[in-house]
């Protein structure tokens, strides 16, 4: 088995080792190609002590194996090496120490080759083939340690993994105290306001433009019309979408609509089955709901993304070849009607705007069937242009629109459902206020910085 030397103790370890078997050093941060560069070493053999290497060879050796360099800075212990990973706020100190060491060829590699097969990519302005330098030699132009450190800090700040405000574990005496208490205090304040707020605040939900048109589009459907449903959400977003879709599905069940459901989400069809079943049981009762459920054509999961959607636009039956019982879906009654007259309405239930956009681009131009979109609130601004241009006959987005829609139904939603939507709305408000608090606290901390 191939081995490589531990950068701390020099003992051999397997190439895929996570920790040194001898000193316990964490080896996970050591790039794979740096390990394989020493693959030639036989297993179990310690690296032979160099017999006064030639100057050229010494330079190359030091460039490839920087840990063999004479130590001018005190080498960190294994515990210290683990610290930056476990306690990222200590990273600047580590970087400062790194910056004091002369950069080696290995440290300049931005992208290294695949197992050493490819040449490393050079960073602009930095030559890779540079001889190793003595620690006291001033770095050449372009490799100023301060500049390097500044750039490292800059890049470290821009990725969301690093803490832009280094927070020491124990604040030194005289420093500002932490913001933990402010966080807790403000969170309690927001929670209190939310809980104690007047319960009748939401006297009338704000029905965004498009909600009433959506209701009218469903109301105008003939009884028993075929509705092609694109179920573009799964359990990840069902918490919001189930509630938003509920009044629209209730309305369609009240109109005795025949559902043909497809989904491009692996978990979409199962989500659809559960939600539709709940709506049918609530509106029709358990016995009739069972019959109604059998009438739903489950097109199943359609992989392939946008190109496959075009098939639904011009030959729906080809996209739904076989149902779950093994019967060709085209032989089932709702789909026969679908083939003869086409769907009366396409309903897109989507958590993300892209799914509605896809349908409008790939399917609607081909079958010319009016499209009604039921979406999460976050998708609303992106889809509003489609509503404004008339490509959508209706747009129901977020709890507000769902609640407004429910108030127009002839038979109101059950009390439990209304309470559920109201609770979720409160949760949404709380989340919004928490975001505002986080924003304000972030800027307060900014003001407190020196």
């Amino acid at each position: 088995m191939s081995t490589f030397g531990c950068p701390h103790c020099g003992q051999p370890n397997p190439l895929n080792a996570s920790f040194c078997a001898h000193c316990g050093t964490d080896l996970r941060s050591l790039p794979r190609d740096e390990r394989s560069s020493q693959e030639a070493r036989p297993s179990g053999d310690l690296p032979p002590a160099p017999e006064a290497p030639l100057p050229g060879e010494e330079g190359r050796l030091l460039a490839e194996q920087p840990w063999l360099q004479p130590e001018t800075v005190e080498s960190p212990s294994p515990e210290e090496e683990r610290l930056p990973e476990e306690q990222p706020w200590l990273r600047p100190a580590q970087e400062e120490r790194d910056a004091m060491e002369p950069p080696t060829a290995a440290s300049q590699r931005l992208v290294t080759g695949l197992q050493g097969l490819l040449e490393p990519v050079e960073e602009a302005g930095l030559a890779l083939e540079t001889p190793a330098q003595a620690p006291d030699t001033p770095p050449p132009a372009g490799r100023d340690p301060e500049l390097l450190q500044r750039w490292q800090m800059r890049f470290a700040e821009e990725v969301p993994l690093a803490d832009p405000v280094p927070t020491p574990m124990a604040p030194p005496p005289g420093s500002r105290r932490g913001y933990g208490m402010e966080w807790i205090g403000l969170a309690v304040l927001v929670l209190g306001l939310w809980l104690l707020g007047p319960p009748t605040l939401r006297s009338a939900p704000h029905g965004w433009p498009g909600t009433q048109a959506a209701y009218q589009a469903v109301e105008a459907l003939p009884i028993g019309a075929s509705v092609l449903v694109d179920w573009a959400y799964d359990p990840a977003t069902a918490g919001e979408l189930d509630r938003v879709a509920y009044p629209v599905l209730v309305h369609l069940v009240d109109r005795n609509a025949q559902f043909v459901v497809v989904s491009q989400f692996p978990g979409g069809m199962a989500t659809a089955r559960r939600t539709l079943q709940a709506v049918q049981v609530e509106r029709l009762g358990p016995m009739q709901a069972r019959t109604a459920a059998q009438q739903v054509v489950e097109g199943g999961f359609l992989p392939g993304g946008a190109p496959v959607l075009a098939l639904l636009g011009q030959a729906t039956e080809l996209g739904l070849p076989v149902d779950l019982e093994g019967t060709p879906a085209r032989e089932r009654a709702p789909l026969q009607a679908l083939q003869e007259t086409g769907p009366a309405l396409a309903l897109v239930l989507a958590a993300h705007s892209e799914d509605v956009q896809r349908w409008l681009e790939q399917v609607q131009p081909l079958n010319r069937v009016p499209v009604l979109a039921v979406t999460a609130a976050a998708a609303d601004p992106v889809l509003r242009p489609y509503w404004d241009s008339g490509q959508l006959v209706g747009l129901v987005s977020g709890y507000d629109s769902a609640q407004a829609y429910a108030r127009w139904l002839e038979e109101p939603l059950p009390f439990v459902e209304e309470v559920r939507i109201a609770g979720l709305q409160r949760g949404q408000q709380l989340g919004f206020w928490l975001l505002v608090v986080a924003l304000v606290l972030g800027h307060l901390r900014l003001l407190g910085e020196p």
Binding site: P205, P235, A238, G239, L311, L318, P381, G398, Q429, F432
Partner: protein
């Protein structure tokens, strides 16, 4: 040679689909439908290949004892149980055991993972949406704009004029910006697609 064959096939398919889409050759409709069905089959097969590859990668991780290999074992076990239960019962994905896995494992897991994005958003806003960050002012302005048009509370607490202002913002500036984005991305997709088809995927400059 292979690239030329692949490029030619892609070009012919693209011409057929475009001709069908614009109604230039109605006789090609059945052929185009067959192409769509093939793409459906290819996508299904790609999923299977993906599952096999996933299993292979994680088997390798377990065999080599790489970091976090127990998680790979958990993934492989879940894959084996789900596939096994689905294949063993003739009811397939409607089998009670598969339904249980969906209800008790998959659905709560997915919902929990997605809910965590709220915490991530909270942290990101606290740490990175600041005026001293590069572009911080623009991000803050955008955030305030989104909050104005989408916050759930303004219609309750503020006069109706506020709701009309939010609607106006959505209908005019937001819509104008999004139309620009949509048109721009559509034109860019067309340009890049045509460029790749004509010049080949390996061409540069």
């Amino acid at each position: 040679m292979d690239r030329r064959v692949g490029g030619t096939v892609a070009l012919v398919v693209a011409m057929l689909v475009l001709a069908d889409r614009f109604g230039l050759a109605p006789a090609t409709r059945p052929w185009v439908n067959v192409l769509y069905v093939w793409s459906l089959l290819l996508a299904g097969f790609a999923l299977l290949l993906g599952a096999v590859h996933l299993a292979g990668v994680h088997l390798g991780r377990v065999r080599r004892g790489e970091a976090e290999w127990p998680l790979s074992v958990a993934l492989l076990a879940a894959l084996a149980v789900t596939v096994g239960v689905g294949l063993a019962d003739p009811r397939g994905i409607r089998a009670p055991a598969v339904e249980w896995i969906f209800d008790a494992v998959l659905a709560p897991g997915q919902a929990t993972l997605f809910a965590l994005t709220g915490l991530f958003l909270l942290t990101a806003i606290h740490r990175f949406v600041r005026l001293d960050r590069p572009g911080g002012l623009w991000i803050l302005v955008g955030l305030v704009l989104v909050a104005v048009v989408q916050a759930p509370w303004p219609p309750d607490l503020l006069p109706p004029l506020w709701a009309r202002l939010a609607d106006w913002l959505l209908v005019w500036p937001v819509m104008a910006a999004w139309r620009g984005v949509l048109l721009g991305s559509a034109l860019a997709s067309l340009w890049i697609g045509g460029y790749l088809l004509i010049r080949g995927p390996g061409s540069r400059g």
